[in-house]
């Protein structure tokens, strides 16, 4: 058991460190360091442009999507090298936020199911951030129950014609491409009639409408499809096998381990260290210390859980469902941390303006973003189901619609 770099790892770290220090957009370092879940502000700059420029620079020098094969724009790195890179990239890594879905889910799905020529055409610009991708899975009728989706794809010669609506699509408003899960056969059970495609988001008939979120920001969208044409060559996997293709996508989400889920703890610790209460520094208060200690061991527990997972990865083991624990724990923790930080501010906790609020309203922004964190990528309840069923081996939920043809499944809870 050790944390030491091997000579090879140490050499890689030194190289990465040197390159980052010579090339990173240092003018934004301080703002990025201070930014947290729900608040990434770069004064006087368009964050998408800054992020794209940094990603492009990395790609040109061979530092983008480290674990991807070189021919698809990556570096062919080992999982450990990826972690070392993340450690060295530090706050600049926060700029990759808008590429997470493309790099973490769409790319790997393309790698598994697209043709060789397509991979060479689409993957390098995805790796370099020149093209942004989104994931078009969720619908009003199917979120947790992804297979409940209704967007239709109908074959017409060599094309497919898409009609329907997606929702909660992160980044669709600035995306160039998307992976799309559709229904191709409503007469069979719901999991058996789905097909996956990728498409150009600028295709005629695609309409993106930003949704204003509870946090006040607009990061996700509704996407409408009206007679959108997708060539059959952009199908991923076989017809009606989309469910299995989507499982690859969802499984790849777990590969993002080590990316370090945000718990809010470092922010809270710093805050308690500096905040003055009536009787002195917050951190000297008995009850504050108790709360902090409880969050501290959750945060460290997650950190070392992910190190254990990385160690397993480096021995060639596959990431399993046990990695769902990161999202489950961090999601609700960040919400509790935000609430607690506001509580410590007392009456002034209601203020969120960067000028008047403590630490520029960081925790207020976190509070408003946190509910989404517990929902996106699978709700807390779905994560618990995954752990109970796939890790502990408990029986699956009873699925009353499992063998019912999709078009016979009831669509309203109360008649």
């Amino acid at each position: 058991m050790n944390f030491d770099d091997t000579p090879q790892e140490a050499a890689f770290r030194a190289e990465a460190k040197a390159w980052i220090s010579a090339n990173a957009p240092k003018q934004y370092e301080e703002e990025l360091r201070k930014s947290s879940l729900g608040r990434t502000v770069l004064k006087g700059a368009n964050i998408l442009e800054v992020a794209k420029a940094w990603q492009k620079k990395k790609a040109d020098a061979g530092w983008a999507c480290l674990h991807w094969p070189k021919e698809y724009g990556g570096r062919g790195s080992s999982p450990i090298e990826r972690v070392i890179w993340q450690q060295e990239e530090g706050p600049f890594g926060k700029l990759s936020g808008m590429f997470i879905i493309g790099h973490g889910m769409c790319g790997p799905t393309m790698m598994a199911f697209a043709g060789e020529e397509q991979k060479r055409k689409y993957l390098p610009p995805l790796a370099s951030g020149e093209k942004v991708w989104c994931q078009l899975f969720s619908e009003p009728a199917g979120g947790s129950d992804v297979a409940g989706l209704r967007t239709r794809a109908e074959k017409n010669g060599d094309d497919w014609i898409i009609n329907g609506q997606k929702i909660w699509t992160s980044g669709a408003h600035y995306s160039d491409y998307g992976i799309l899960l559709t229904r191709t056969d409503p007469n069979v059970a719901k999991h058996k009639g789905l097909t996956m495609f990728f498409l150009d988001m600028k295709s005629p008939g695609v309409e993106v409408r930003p949704i204003k979120q509870a946090s006040g920001q607009s990061d996700f969208n509704e996407v409408y499809f009206t007679d959108v044409k997708i060539p059959d060559s952009q199908r991923l996997g076989t017809v009606n096998d989309g469910w299995n293709v989507s499982l690859t996508t969802l499984m790849n989400e777990r590969m993002s381990i080590g990316a370090g889920v945000s718990t809010g703890f470092p922010e809270l610790f710093d805050f308690c260290n500096s905040l003055m209460l009536e009787d002195g520094p917050a951190i000297e208060d008995r009850s504050v210390r108790s709360k902090l200690a409880n969050y501290a061991v959750k945060a460290s527990g997650l950190r070392y859980t992910s190190m254990r997972a990385i160690s397993a990865l480096s021995k060639g083991e596959r990431p399993g469902p046990e990695n769902s624990i990161g999202k489950l724990v961090a999601g609700s923790m960040v919400q509790e941390v935000a609430m607690y930080a506001l509580d410590l501010q007392g009456a002034a906790g209601v203020l969120s303006g960067p000028e008047e609020a403590e630490v520029a309203g960081k925790f207020q922004a976190m509070l408003l973003r946190a509910p989404g964190t517990r929902v996106e990528g699978g709700t807390d309840e779905i994560m618990r189901n995954i752990i109970a069923e796939r890790v502990l081996g408990l029986p699956g939920d009873i699925r009353v619609d499992k063998d019912v043809p999709f078009n016979k499944i009831p669509t309203k809870g109360r008649a």
Binding site: M1, N2, F3, D4, D5, E9, I80, V83, F269, N273, I283, R286, R289, S290, L292, A293, N294, A296, V297, K298, S300, G301, L302, R303, Y304, T305, M307, R308, I310, S311, A312, S314, E322, I325, L328, V329, E381, M383, R384, N385, I387, A388, E389, V391, L392, G393, L394, P395, G396, D397, I398
Partner: protein
């Protein structure tokens, strides 16, 4: 980076698990629980023969000289089996104190006896309610003798020797405290068993009346040695707690698969599944914190104080969480004497207090994090 135990260490864990499954089934634990014996003597002898008592004791002192990572994997199995033996008091507390501060002669005298199972040791620290603190130590040392009362002392009634924290100064500083070694069989000490929440882990009151004592470590170093002993024991005991958490989770899972209600295994009800998922989460977070503690302990890293506190808190929470919810999943059966659930519940809640309470360690953790931050 390799944040895992080695294959040899895992093999040792399997060996210990197999041995304990055979020699320490719940029936054996119950002998002690029901008051038929103060501890399981046969098991104790067996542990010595397997070399488990001296795993981390150097060969020159009669041990196996394997190391602390190996001791961690044994500790986990001791916790999983709920072993009714004075392992933690002897191996984590007494032996660690000797290793840290003992003279060569003291080590030669006691460590081989620990490794061979001939001597049971303990640490006499507490004097009634409260948490570890120099101020709370009133027991007085003078002219090579000790006078005063210690309680609760883990396994105090069956111990052959004790490491005793005593007051040797009155400046109000930590340096007022010194440690002593007392052979409990030579007279001057009266031991009284105390009834406690977990009968499989005895607690006693030791009354010292001019008892002969020899210094352990330099005079005035007592508190600093104690702090180190507590940190080391915290990591080791945390592994026991993780072993117990895992066992409680397994018991709950197995019951949920077998018990039918409303025509279905109760494990198919989401409310039950989610209880078990949360048990898994707390046990996993604790395990990961413990691994970090094991690394810090085995390398004597400067991170040990912080890592030990984190492991201790996390493992205490996990064991309490898993053992109480294991009973819940078992329903009425879980609340019977006959089912094993309460043995883990008792152990979880007494282990939570033996090295200082949860709130004590919370305080320690934040102190240590602050110091590191300031440095």
């Amino acid at each position: 980076m390799n944040f895992d135990f080695s294959d040899e260490q895992k093999q040792m864990r399997d060996e210990a698990r197999k041995f304990l499954a055979e020699k320490c089934p719940p029936k054996a634990v119950r002998e002690v629980l029901d008051g038929k014996a103060p501890y399981d003597k046969t098991l104790w002898k067996g542990l010595a023969e397997m070399g488990f008592l001296g795993v981390a004791i150097p060969e020159e002192f009669g041990g196996a000289g394997a190391g602390h990572l190996e001791l961690c994997v044994i500790a986990e199995e001791m916790g999983r089996a709920n072993a009714p033996v004075p392992f933690s008091s002897t191996v984590y507390l007494a032996a660690e104190a000797l290793l840290l501060a003992g003279s060569d002669a003291q080590k030669q005298k006691w460590l081989p006896k620990i490794a061979s199972g001939e001597a049971i040791g303990t640490l006499a620290l507490f004097e009634g309610k409260g948490n570890p603190s120099p101020k709370a130590i009133k027991l007085q040392a003078s002219g090579g003798t000790l006078s005063g009362v210690k309680k609760p002392v883990p396994d105090g009634a069956i111990a052959d020797f004790a490491v005793v924290a005593a007051r040797t100064g009155s400046t109000g500083r930590d340096s007022d405290i010194s440690l002593f070694l007392v052979d409990l069989k030579t007279g001057g000490v009266e031991a009284k068993s105390l009834t406690n929440v977990d009968p499989t882990r005895g607690q006693a009151e030791l009354t010292f009346k001019n008892a002969k004592a020899e210094p352990l470590g330099a005079a005035g170093d007592g508190w600093s040695i104690l702090t180190q002993v507590l940190d080391r024991a915290a990591v080791l005991l945390a592994f026991e707690q993780v072993g117990g958490s895992d066992r409680a989770l397994e018991m709950g899972r197995d019951y949920a698969l077998d018990r039918i209600a409303f025509g279905r295994p109760i494990g198919s009800f989401q409310a039950v599944k989610h209880i078990l998922a949360d048990m898994y989460v707390s046990a996993t977070l604790a395990r990961s914190n413990c691994y970090y503690g094991a690394w810090a302990l085995s390398t004597n890293a400067s991170e040990l104080p912080e890592a030990a506190a984190a492991a201790r808190i996390s493992a205490t929470q996990a064991f309490q969480h898993c053992s109480k919810n294991n009973i819940q999943v078992h329903g009425g059966m879980g609340f019977t004497w006959e089912f094993d659930c309460h043995m883990y519940y008792r152990r979880a809640n007494t282990t939570a207090l033996t090295l200082g309470s949860l709130s004590y360690w919370e305080d320690q953790l934040i102190d240590r994090m602050r110091k590191k931050n300031a440095a």
